[in-house]
């Protein structure tokens, strides 16, 4: 009897956490999304969202930028993780990759403002070699660069773990059976590390959907994503209902991504 009550006690912190910080906010945000700015129950927020060109464009922007950021980080992270796997002292290298994530996001954003600005390091250098100062800050490229920089550790780690778990003898077996390096990569290494890639895509794409501070600090508010819109509705226009509606849309988008990248039950190869 005593044993089962201790077991229950172990669940308490987790269940409390879940109820207070996951379920309650979800319920609140869904509830809130059905009220207009005057506190009347309505479905108009959703109607507005799906009929307004602005919101559709914002949604498209968010998905598009998140997609670009994910592709850029993946393109950098997979080869990095693969090379890391064959490096000596890989734990040290991994630590160096994790290190920047311990620093606050805003600090990093401000550091990049310093680097990219008219009097920043890069432009000073460009002026010296005579190419002259260029506009870096507040461009799409700068936004994608900084966002990718911030997300890269979250992509490298799961892929690195996936490659570490890959049994080297699969690679040897593939070569032994006549496969060239590229064939081995596409037929064996990639399929067997795809779960790491999926985890990385989840960890990067979903947060990228709602990035908002970077869009302002680095992107100069030229890119308005759903994250920015939510912030505006809650802090500026005070239209909590609309903000919540966008929140709900984001949550649904996250679930769709999770479903698409999640481990699905393996198709049975045997015919009945």
């Amino acid at each position: 009897m005593k044993k089962s009550s201790t077991n229950v006690a172990f669940y308490v912190p987790y269940v409390l956490w879940l109820a207070l910080f996951v379920i309650a906010p979800l319920v609140l945000i869904i509830y809130q999304s059905f009220f207009d700015i005057n506190g009347h129950f309505t479905l108009s927020n959703y109607a507005t969202y799906f009929s307004s060109g602005t919101y559709i464009l914002m949604t498209f922007n968010s998905v598009f930028y998140a997609f670009v950021i994910t592709v850029v980080t993946l393109a950098i992270s997979y080869p990095t993780a693969y090379l890391l796997h064959y490096t000596k002292h890989k734990q040290l290298w991994i630590l160096l990759i994790i290190l920047p994530t311990w620093i606050n996001l805003l600090l990093k954003a401000y550091a990049f403002i310093g680097i990219f600005s008219q009097n920043g390091g890069i432009n000073t250098f460009l002026s010296m070699v005579g190419i002259g100062p260029k506009q870096f800050l507040f461009t799409d490229a700068a936004f994608i660069f900084v966002a990718s920089y911030i997300e890269i550790p979250f992509m490298i780690l799961p892929i690195f773990n996936g490659i570490e778990e890959l049994n080297e003898s699969f690679v040897n077996a593939s070569r032994d059976l006549g496969a060239k390096w590229w064939q081995t990569f596409t037929k064996v290494i990639w399929p067997l590390t795809i779960s790491g890639v999926k985890a990385g895509v989840q960890a990067v794409f979903i947060p990228s959907l709602s990035l908002f501070m970077l869009t302002r600090l680095i992107g100069g508010n030229r890119v308005i994503t759903l994250g920015t819109a939510i912030e505006e509705h809650f802090l500026v226009t005070m239209n909590w209902g609309m903000g919540s509606t966008i929140g709900v849309v984001l949550i649904v988008a996250m679930f769709i991504i999770m479903f698409l990248t999640g481990e699905r039950k393996k198709k049975r190869g045997r015919r009945a």
Binding site: F170, N172, A173, S174, D176, G178, A179, L192, G269
Partner: protein, 362 residues
């Protein structure tokens, strides 16, 4: 004499300060079953990897049909490997695993189906093509690994301790199947194992390895009956090894007595080691024996009793007898001149072979 297909010439491998292979010279002929036998760390798998192309020898040449293939990448070598852990691709089913090499070779779809079906039939797995790897038992996975390698019809099949993960019964069954398969296919097998019984049962020829060197090579019977040195005698089968002196040809002295033997070619009074196999020793009455020993312990092994006894000089004697003895009893041990095998200390394989030839031809 059949054709030599693989030859290692003065191959050595060094990692930093560790010497893994020392001047290996091996010739592999077509259509035979070869075994590299040795304790773990003796370098046998290293040799296999050098032939498969997963490892560059520090020195020496790997020859295939007389042509040096040191620089040829693994995927172009006409050999295939059955890995110790099988290395079956977990994301493919049995059919796809076996078809892998054929697909890489861009074989026509119809041919693939036919050859995969044939290979699976060869390892008695017909009807398993659609199974997932995770649904197979260890023995079945092992056979898929073999099918995946033989479907490509390699000139040489390399097997890296393929039976070590199987239980005793299954291992025995697979030994028969491997031997049969090799004879049916006519492909050269190069098999790596640390299990001497397995090696003796399967091989046409055995290379006994220790410390990165080939200690002795020859047929199972040669190696069992005429081990070259202490290591081989001790590693292959069970043996009583006693220090002695060679009095003259065909006369050896050990345990304070002189015995007739079948060995010759040593210097007079040379220090030697004498090997007596436990199954060659017979128990007789104490006064009828060539050596008298006192029985210490005995174990019933099913088809024989394994008796541990000590003589007056406190040497241990291991005797296999079909009849039991009594603990603590004094018994006589007898053996024939042919049962004695005399080994010189530090004799090279070349000298050993030459010496054997010099008097056995008579």
């Amino acid at each position: 004499m059949s054709k030599t297909i693989i030859e290692l010439k003065h191959v050595s491998k060094v990692y930093g300060d560790t010497v893994v292979l020392k001047d290996i010279n091996i010739e592999i002929e077509e259509g035979k079953f070869y075994t590299l036998l040795g304790p773990s760390g003796s370098g046998k798998t290293t040799i296999l990897r050098a032939i498969a192309g997963f490892l560059d020898p520090s020195q020496g040449d790997v020859l295939f049909n007389g042509k040096r293939i040191n620089e040829m990448p693994a995927n172009e070598r006409p050999v295939n490997t059955v890995f110790q852990d099988y290395a079956l691709f977990p994301h493919m089913n049995v059919f796809e695993n076996v078809a892998y090499g054929l697909r890489i070779r861009k074989t026509a779809k119809k041919d693939i189906e036919e050859r995969v079906a044939n290979a699976l039939k060869m390892v008695r797995l017909n009807g398993f093509a659609d199974r997932e790897i995770s649904e197979l038992s260890g023995g079945q996975q092992q056979r898929v690994a073999i099918a995946r390698a033989i479907v490509l019809e390699p000139a040489v099949l390399l097997l890296d301790e393929p039976l070590s993960a199987l239980d005793a019964k299954l291992r025995k069954d697979m030994q028969y199947e491997l031997r049969e398969l090799q004879q049916r296919l006519g492909i050269t097998f190069l098999f790596v194992t640390h299990d001497q019984e397995e090696a003796l049962a399967l091989s046409d020829e055995i290379f006994v390895m220790n410390d990165g060197e080939v200690q002795q090579s020859g047929t199972p019977v040669d190696i069992y009956d005429e081990p070259i040195n202490h290591f081989v005698a001790d590693f292959i089968g069970e043996s009583n090894i006693v220090a002695g002196h060679m009095i003259q040809d065909y006369l050896v002295e050990f345990n304070g007595k002189t015995f007739e033997c079948a060995d010759a070619g040593m210097r007079p009074h040379e220090s030697v080691e004498v090997v007596l196999r436990p199954e060659d020793l017979d128990l007789v009455a104490p006064d009828a024996g060539k050596v008298t020993v006192k029985v210490d312990t005995q174990l019933f092994r099913g088809d024989y009793y394994e008796i541990v006894a000590y003589d007056q000089l406190n040497n241990e004697w291991l005797i296999h007898s079909t009849n039991p003895a009594k603990d603590g009893e004094n018994v006589g041990v007898t053996f024939d001149a042919e049962d004695i095998h005399v080994m010189r200390l530090n004799e090279t394989e070349e000298d050993f072979d030459a010496r054997l030839e010099s008097y056995e031809g008579e």
